[in-house]
Amino acid sequence: MSLSPVDGAALAEIESGGAAGAEAGVSRERRIVGRSPGQLAWLRLRRDRTALVSGAMLVLFVLVALAAPLIELAYGIGPRDQFQSKLDGFGMPLGYAGGVSGDHFFGLEPGLGRDIFIRLVHGLRTSLFIAFAAAVLTAVIGVVLGTLAGYLGGWLDAVVNWITDLTLALPFLVIALALTPTLTLRFYGQRDAVPPAFGIGVLIAIFAVFGWTSTARLVRGQVIALREREFVEAARASGAGLGHMLFRQLLPNTWAPILVSFSLAVPQFITSEAALSFIGVGLTEETPSFGRMIYQSLDYLQTDPAFVFFPGVTIFALVFAFNLFGDALRDALDPKSSR
């Protein structure tokens, strides 16, 4: 049930680069100025042109997503408005390139005749929200379980490890496919309107349940490495409690790889949402989302390439920007890198 190849590889990648990052401290900088590793990373990031460009792209995407209602107001067309009079007898948009015009920047969807631009803007909002929420949740679950397992070890470690194995062995797609209708019935009567927020929530929950394992493994490895370090032993010897150990001693020293893993998880969830739509899981027709748009557009590759082009390029640009930024972030956090 392999959904995204990124999972395992990203983890291993971060472990190698990131572990070194946590260890190294300040060595390469010539002028000895008292800078924290965080400040150093920020400096490096600012000097990296790639990071700046991809970062700017991301900010733009987030702004567009946040401003969706305003854009809708200015554009004058809503995501559910239909323009079927601008379609031909086959339901294909009239005019050039899928009906691109001054009124419809990216043209119209075949069939229902909805405006692609405004649906993309709203879809961006949905997809980014799902991806960020899922990434935050997986990070939290992964960090908590990983730290506890790594620090306390023993039976807890064994149990967490086993649950990780079990989660990996469970078929993500099959369960997502089966669970969505069941959950809907569990929470809503058969005549109730199911708000889009519910579908979004279910998706986030499914991602959280299946996505935490890589972060947990990563954090566990980091914590095990830190556990034996002098400063941790010193704190332990001076009688610090569990909470202090976890939050004051261990976590501050693992934030770098967690951050990188987070930045790489977001695009992964964006593409996963699209992949789920592909097999028929996910949001309903009424909620504009990237996944559904792309899935529906692919069939029109020959008859309405513009319909494939606009959503396809947008999701590619978004995911690409995230990946570029994640890469740059890792380089910045890794003092050994000398880009």
Partner: protein
């Protein structure tokens, strides 16, 4: 550097995708002959039932004809066959009591297949029917087919293990829907069900408790295929049926491929409809309808003699229809599959609301959503135009785009809040979205409630289903009003689950009409059904008729003789052949 790579990659995709985007779409379409009428008669002259079938122009023998389809045919057991693919494949390897002589253009005659005539109504009361079996019809091992083997085939369809097929004969013979409790096949393998007898080797006799005037139609279904008892392999017959038709199954790879090769014991002189042109038929399963259509369009190698079973998908219709070179390789024909917005009459009891729904719907917009007139044709009647005796009418004339004002007027200021149950399949979601828009424009408040695609049918077949509206479709088993109107609108048949009357419509006066018409002879029934159709719509508006499916098929340049069956709306292979 990396951003430049990004730009380059993006540019490459843009270029690729934009290749086809530079032509202006000005919107010209084709037209489908949806108003043609079925002539549908039952042959009275025994000569019509005699072979051989007239030769097909330009047809020659030889070659391999391939049929590409996404989902496999679940089994080839004739007694369990009910899917369209099964119904269209079965004539290749099985013969039935009667069959349809069909030219795919509306000329439809029911003729005897294994029987010499389409049955004789012994006492003219439709209660006793006799069929004389032809001389010279044989199984694939050369044994003659007699009334005994046909009777055995019907008998084994009583076996609950062999469910899935039609149940008309069982229910009529046993005179109860619980036919398997009335007569136990497993305990009586050497006997015959009540009412079914074989006075001699060449006579098959049905005796029913009630008049069953549709019997000649019902025995055209594959459930009347003959089988010698010693060849009955139970559930495994689906993998290796015993042939009586022009082809026999020589290879059955579940889910992958079925190969049928010529059956040398089939005698064309006994068969009024089938031919035996190709050396073999290959059914190949797996490719999605999109892939299959693309493959056939590409017309490479073996695909030149292939047919894509599925209709051209909506996303490709514009491409296929817009290519003049493809025109000789396509078949366009309306089908008898009728689609409605079904109103749950138990919940929506106000006639005005149901009439308003009928006025509000924009059929032209709906057809666009579905992919245009090569996919769907609007309809306003309960029976599709392919039904015997069909008369066109529009009880609620609202123009092609609906009449929201008229609907509002009928609603008289109220805002009915209705729940539309829709399958979560891609197409149905879009249709539901479209209808919601139509209805809200007319003053309704619509909630779309999703139902898992595969569960939807069984859910709406439950009497107490919670939805007010849902999309329903009906493809009759034979083109007579008798297999449409009473099945869909007789309220006395409503049960807890498994209902065909999904509108849950029940009206004593209409029920009485059903009873009256059903006792008429098949020839007299046609116009009566058409009148009743209009009466039901005018007086009760139990559903909103939406559209009939249109079959749009594409085949390779060497494939010929394919036409769309007027009875089932899917490709028929009796005339299939390969061109040089």
């Amino acid at each position: 550097m990396r951003p430049r790579v990004a730009a380059a990659a993006g540019g490459a995709i843009a270029l690729l995708v934009a290749l086809g985007a530079c032509t202006k779409n000005t919107g010209e379409g084709a037209s489908v002959d949806t108003e043609r009428q079925q002539t549908g008669v039952i042959a009275t002259d025994p000569k019509d039932s005699m072979g051989p079938a007239p030769a097909v122009d330009g047809a020659q023998a030889g070659g391999t004809f391939t049929v590409i389809r996404e989902t496999p045919i679940s089994h080839l057991d004739p007694q369990r066959t009910y899917s369209f693919a099964g119904l269209m494949a079965a004539p290749l390897f099985a013969r039935f009591l009667t069959t349809w002589k069909d030219d795919g253009k509306g000329n439809l005659v029911l003729v005897g297949d294994l029987a010499e005539t389409p049955g004789s109504n012994v006492n003219d009361d439709c209660k006793v029917w006799e069929f004389k079996i032809k001389d010279g019809v044989k199984f694939e091992d050369g044994r003659p087919v007699t009334a005994k083997e046909i009777a055995y085939g019907i008998a084994r369809s009583f076996d609950p293990d062999l469910s899935g097929g039609p149940t008309y004969l069982q229910e009529w013979l046993a005179d109860t829907p619980q036919y398997d409790t009335r007569w136990d096949f497993k305990a009586n393998r050497s006997a015959l069900p009540p009412g079914l007898t074989t006075p001699d080797d060449r006579t098959l006799r049905f005796e029913f408790a009630k008049p069953r005037c549709d019997l000649p139609f019902a025995v055209s279904l594959p459930a009347t295929a003959p089988l010698p008892p010693d060849k009955d392999t139970g559930v495994n017959l689906g993998n290796a049926p015993f042939s009586s038709g022009p082809y026999k199954v020589t290879r059955y790879q579940a889910g992958v491929e079925i190969v049928m090769e010529r059956n040398e014991h089939w005698d064309p002189d006994t068969d009024p409809v089938r031919h035996q042109y190709p050396d073999r038929f290959v059914w190949s399963f797996g490719p999605t309808p999109d892939a299959a259509a693309n493959r056939v369009i590409a017309d490479n190698g073996a695909d030149q003699s292939a047919l894509s079973w599925n209709y051209v998908p909506a996303s490709l219709v514009a491409r296929v229809a817009g290519d003049a070179a493809l025109r000789p390789r396509t078949v366009l024909s309306p089908t008898p599959s009728a689609n409605q917005l079904v109103i749950n009459n138990q919940r929506v009891t106000d006639l005005k609301v149901r009439q308003a729904l009928n006025y509000a719907v924009d059929r032209e917009g709906l057809v666009k959503v579905l992919g245009g007139q090569n996919i769907a044709a609007p309809m306003t009647t309960l029976m599709p135009s392919a039904t015997i005796g069909y008369q066109a009418y529009d009880a609620y004339p609202a123009g092609p785009n609906g009449d929201p004002e008229k609907a509002r007027e009928l609603l008289g200021g109220q805002t009915p809040e209705l729940v539309l149950g829709a399958a979560d399949s891609s197409v149905e979601q879009q249709v539901a979205t479209q209808l919601k828009g139509n209805l809200e424009r007319a003053g309704f408040k619509i909630t779309i409630r999703n139902i898992p695609d595969d569960a939807k049918l069984e859910e709406i077949k439950k009497k107490d289903n919670p939805w007010d509206l849902y999309l329903g479709s009906w493809a009759a088993d034979w083109p007579s009003g008798a297999s449409i109107l009473p099945v869909l609108y007789d309220g006395r048949s409503i049960k807890a689950e498994g209902n065909s009357n999904q509108a849950y419509f029940n009206d004593p006066a209409i029920n009485a009409e059903f009873d009256r018409i059903l006792t008429l002879s098949p020839a007299e029934q046609g116009p009566e059904w058409a009148k009743l159709d209009e009466r039901i719509m005018k007086e009760h508006a139990p559903v909103v008729p939406l559209y009939v499916d249109v079959a749009y098929l594409v085949h390779g340049s060497k494939a010929g003789g394919v036409f769309v069956s007027s009875v089932f709306g899917y490709p028929s292979f009796v005339n299939a052949h390969l061109k040089p």
